[in-house]
């Protein structure tokens, strides 16, 4: 055994010596044989030649001997590698184009996969994620979260879960943190005290929250995220014990969460976690004792061996004991508690980004496929030039398998280089892309090189190698034959037909897939334009928006009063300002909480789900809502004046059906309450308050003077070109220096931010489309060049027979047009399928958008033809003399 290893080692390290020995050994044999023949009685004349003939194929014997050494696999692989590198060095342009296009193709796939993996596939970074379940209340077809009292009861009575945690559905964005630096807005999440314990998360430094922190009246404790630690405290260990205030809550930072932990919602990374007990001090209203506010998401960890169905049944019976039936609706029948798997956390981000990311992945896949088709074509064209060489090598005794392997090694070299650059591109480009597309801070993601991505990239690289390398290798090696290389004319000039057909089919496929990608890009981009230009029901252009934090401290209340009075007047008086108004909740902010409203003596029936906006006068005009009937708010709608309200059409229809709403009375709550009645004085055109893709929702506007509420935003309409943001900010800072400013932005910006997913998709798809078009052009250019070279002699003969250069060009271009059209037809069918699949991602465009399709086909054919024209034009000048000389 040892001996064999030593032998193989020697064989490997002393390859050249052994080869020389082999050569010597075989030469000795031939010499002796020739000697024998020469001295024999027959007196063979050319004894050396006869000796060679009776010996057999020399190269093949050598190869077999090397194989017999047992190291030939590695050895010949190294030889192939050297051969491959030499070959690639010889054609640097081809090599560069191949590696660059592979890098983009593979990089795109790695990027898309990495995002998809983290948003959709991967389980939460917690202990034993597969035991986690999400609890949901279901009653009469409706589902909801949990109220605080119900959660506490449930937590103490249940026996099937080893732990139950709750986290608030309302993320508290823009919560001002004071202490340990300048006031700053932080994204805070309220969680039950056992949150970290149930998830199995230990603190990176300090400790996590515990149940003792979550008791009413105890000193507040907070855990911060790694990102926040970095951002605000520069990773100083002294952060532990730092006292900060969050709104009215005084809390001490007790720990920092581990860097990989982001909570139970993938992609949304809070800055601070505080116990639920602090809710009344952090948010404007006390939800802890609210018996009907379902604001908690509840998750639990199943005890080992308890099947989910049994757990669900047990929890449902406990719910009945607690008397939870009153939570949703009294009359909606029995209430059940359902369990869904919580291994991957909450759905939110997955629902929002799952499909766009899947589309991204699919497009990246198509781009890589095109890259592979393109490379395969180029390799075939290259192979045409090598068929002759290979024929000679076959004649010398080379084995066909070896030829195939050699070409595959060359392909592998290309794709490995492409893969390496691709990963680099994914890491750099992916981040740049995410930044370019923008997005809200708390959902932004960064590219990280991890194990999954490495494995995926390796798999993609290997499959790409076979996808573009195998077919050309097989076709070229099959096309090569010794008789061909030593044919009648010494050398056959045209390539084997299989090669030509192969290249043509690849071109058609490439055109087809390209069309699908280009079509997809056109549709997505048109959809984005439609989203931007749609009628929002408000006029967002030229409106500056100041988002204010909801602070509840006495100082903040005082500041709010100032804003409502003096500050807004000063802003109104600024030159260039048309109007200004304050409100609580407005378009496109996620702070609006749904509420119920009921009408007096309505035929339409029950209460309506509505969003309530508290607004000052001028609000309707400032943000550009349109009054259809009646009036908007005026200065006369004072505290003492009769209470009034404005409805949007949608709300009016929900409350009053087809009857006119003007002059009718409504109130908030599940049923009409005449003591809190408001008169409808105006009906507004519908507006999209949720976001560009949101449906119209029912809105009720009430005067802030009559129904006081904190100010969360200031809207300013300016008619001048000049951006007044800076001035607005300085007025605010002068008037209320103690109030931490949220953000000064504009409605157009807010809309763009909301569209970042769509923008990312459109951006990436256009990038892909450009790449694909470039590849198609390069491919067609190469192919026509190859045709022209392949038919050089035929074209020359034709020229000699009197064909004009134009005829020759036409003959080459006709072929290109045919290939392009064939590809377009196949691709057309393909894009119908694709667009049908992505219909839910499109807005305002039908999936069979003829405009996008026609544009895509035209662009593709135009680019294709101009690429084909250059080599065709060159071929038109075929020299008849050269051709005739060769004949």
């Amino acid at each position: 055994m040892l001996r064999e290893i030593l032998y193989r080692l020697r064989a490997l390290t002393r390859r050249d010596d052994l080869d020389r020995e082999l050569e010597e050994e075989l030469q000795y044999h031939l010499a002796r044989e020739a000697e024998k023949l020469a001295n024999s009685s027959d007196q063979v004349p050319d004894s050396m030649r006869t000796a060679r003939l009776s010996f057999g194929p020399m190269e093949s014997v050598k190869e077999q001997c090397r194989e017999a050494r047992g190291t030939s696999l590695i050895e010949s692989f190294l030889a192939d590698l050297r051969y491959g590198i030499r070959g690639l060095k010889k054609s640097p342009v081809f090599t560069l184009v191949a590696i660059a296009s592979l890098a983009v193709g593979i990089g795109a796939n790695s990027t898309a996969f990495s995002l998809l993996d983290r948003v959709v596939f991967r389980p939460l970074p917690v202990e034993r994620p597969h035991e986690l379940v999400i609890l949901s209340l279901a009653q009469g077809g409706a589902t909801s979260g949990f109220t605080y009292p119900f959660f506490r009861e449930m937590q103490s009575r249940q026996t099937v879960l080893s732990g139950v945690l709750a986290s608030a559905d309302y993320p508290v964005k823009n919560l001002i943190v004071r202490g340990g630096g300048d006031p700053e807005a932080a994204f805070t999440r309220l969680v039950s005290g056992n949150y970290f314990e149930v998830l199995g998360i230990r603190a990176a430094i300090g400790r996590v929250l515990n149940s003792a922190d979550d008791r009413l009246g105890t000193a507040g404790a907070a855990v911060i995220s790694d990102r926040f630690w970095e951002r605000r405290f520069q990773r100083s260990p002294a952060v532990l014990g730092t006292a900060v205030t969050l709104n009215k809550a005084q809390v001490t930072i007790v720990g920092v969460a581990p860097p990989e932990f982001f909570g139970e919602k993938p992609g949304s990374i809070p800055d601070v976690w505080v116990p639920l007990a602090l809710q009344p001090q952090v948010m404007p209203s006390d939800l802890l004792s609210a018996r009907f506010m379902t604001w908690l998401t509840v998750m639990g960890r199943l005890k080992p061996g308890v099947p989910p169905a049994a757990a669900s049944a047990s929890l449902t019976s406990i719910a009945a004991e607690i008397g939870a039936n009153t939570i949703l609706r009294k009359d909606a029948g029995p209430l059940t508690i359902g369990l869904t798997t919580g291994a991957r956390g909450l759905e939110d981000l997955r629902r929002e980004f799952g499909k766009p990311l899947a589309l991204l992945m699919a497009m990246a896949g198509m781009v890589l496929t095109i890259v592979c088709f393109n490379l395969a074509m180029l390799l075939l064209a290259r192979g045409a030039a090598r068929v002759h060489e290979m024929g000679i090598r076959l004649a010398l005794g080379a084995v066909r398998v070896r030829l195939v392997r050699q070409m595959l090694v060359e392909s592998a070299l290309l794709s490995i280089a492409g893969g390496v650059f691709g990963v680099a591109l994914a890491l750099l480009g992916g981040d740049a892309l995410l930044r370019l597309a923008g997005g809200e801070r708390e959902t932004s993601m960064a590219m990280v090189l991890d194990g999954n991505m490495m494995v995926f990239t390796a798999a993609v690289t290997i499959s790409a190698t076979f996808l573009f390398g195998l077919a050309p290798a097989l076709i070229v090696s099959a096309g090569a034959s010794p008789t061909r290389s030593f044919g009648r004319q010494g050398r056959d000039l045209t390539a084997p037909r299989s090669l030509v057909y192969g290249a043509q089919s690849l071109m058609v496929l490439q055109v087809a897939v390209s069309l699908v990608v280009v079509c997809g890009a056109a549709l997505l981009t048109r959809s984005l334009t439609r989203l931007r230009q749609q009628d929002f029901g408000i006029r967002p252009t030229g409106v500056i928006l100041v988002k204010l934090p909801m602070e509840l401290t006495p100082a903040a209340r005082k500041a709010q009063e100032l804003i409502r009075g003096e500050v807004i007047e000063r802003i109104r008086a600024m030159p260039g300002v048309d109007s200004a108004a304050v409100s609580c909740c407005g378009p496109f902010d996620d702070t609006a909480h749904p509420s119920k409203a009921a009408a007096e003596s309505s035929v339409a029936g029950g209460p309506a789900e509505v969003l309530v906006v508290h607004a000052s006068e001028d609000y309707v005009e400032t943000i550009g809502l349109r009054v259809l009937h009646g009036r908007s708010f005026t200065r006369e709608d004072r505290k003492e004046a009769p209470p009034v309200a404005l409805l949007t059409e949608h709300a009016a229809t929900q409350l009053f059906g087809r009857e006119p709403a003007l002059g009718r009375r409504i109130s908030f709550g599940n049923s009409f309450d005449s003591t809190k009645a408001m008169e409808v004085v105006g009906v507004l055109k519908n507006a999209r308050f949720g976001g560009p893709r949101d449906e119209f929702r029912s809105l009720i506007l009430v005067p802030m003077a009559q129904q006081p509420s904190p100010v969360t935003s200031i809207s300013v309409r300016a008619s001048v070109e000049r951006d007044l943001r800076h001035e607005v900010r300085s007025i605010l800072q002068q008037a209320i220096p103690r109030l931490g400013l949220g953000e000064v932005t504009s409605y157009s910006e807010v809309i763009e931010k909301k569209l970042h997913g769509e923008r990312l998709l459109s951006l990436v798809s256009v990038f892909f489309a450009v790449q694909v078009l470039f590849l198609a052009a390069a491919g067609l250019f190469g192919l026509v060049w190859f045709f022209a070279a392949n038919r050089e002699r035929e074209l020359g003969v034709r020229a000699a027979m009197g064909a004009s250069p134009g005829d020759l060009r036409q003959c080459l271009l006709r072929r290109s047009v045919f290939l392009l059209l064939l590809g377009a037809i196949i691709g057309g069918a393909g894009s119908m399928g694709l667009t049908k699949a992505i219909r839910s991602l499109l807005f305002g465009v039908t999936s069979y958008d003829p405009f996008a399709f026609v544009v895509a086909v035209c662009v593709l054919i135009l680019i294709g033809l101009s690429a084909a024209f250059v080599p065709a034009w060159r071929a038109g000048r075929a020299d008849p003399l050269r051709a005739l000389r060769a004949e």
């Binding site: 050994e25 000795y28 044999h29 077999q64 001997c65």
Partner: protein
Amino acid sequence: MASERLELPQGTLELLILQTLELEPQHGWGISERLNQRSHGALQVQQGSLYPALHRMERRGLISPDWRVSENGRKAKYYKLTARGRKELRQQSDAWQKLTQAVTLLLTPEVR
């Protein structure tokens, strides 16, 4: 004459090489000549195919190389049997004997 030559059954070439080398160390050409002579030309071993077999056997440690000056004054690669090779030869020729005896027995018409 060529048509009367016999193809070697799979695996017997090694046995023949071992047998040849048992007498004395020999180089490739010498082995080929010896095989030809001893079988009176009935066995046709393509000269080239001898070498891969030799190299395979060298790897398995049945024979070991030995560079010497040959009878015509040139340096040549001689092969000699190793202890393992001897053992292998004994086993293989035993097996071959048994096999041929059995096959011969089966092929002989039974005498009643």
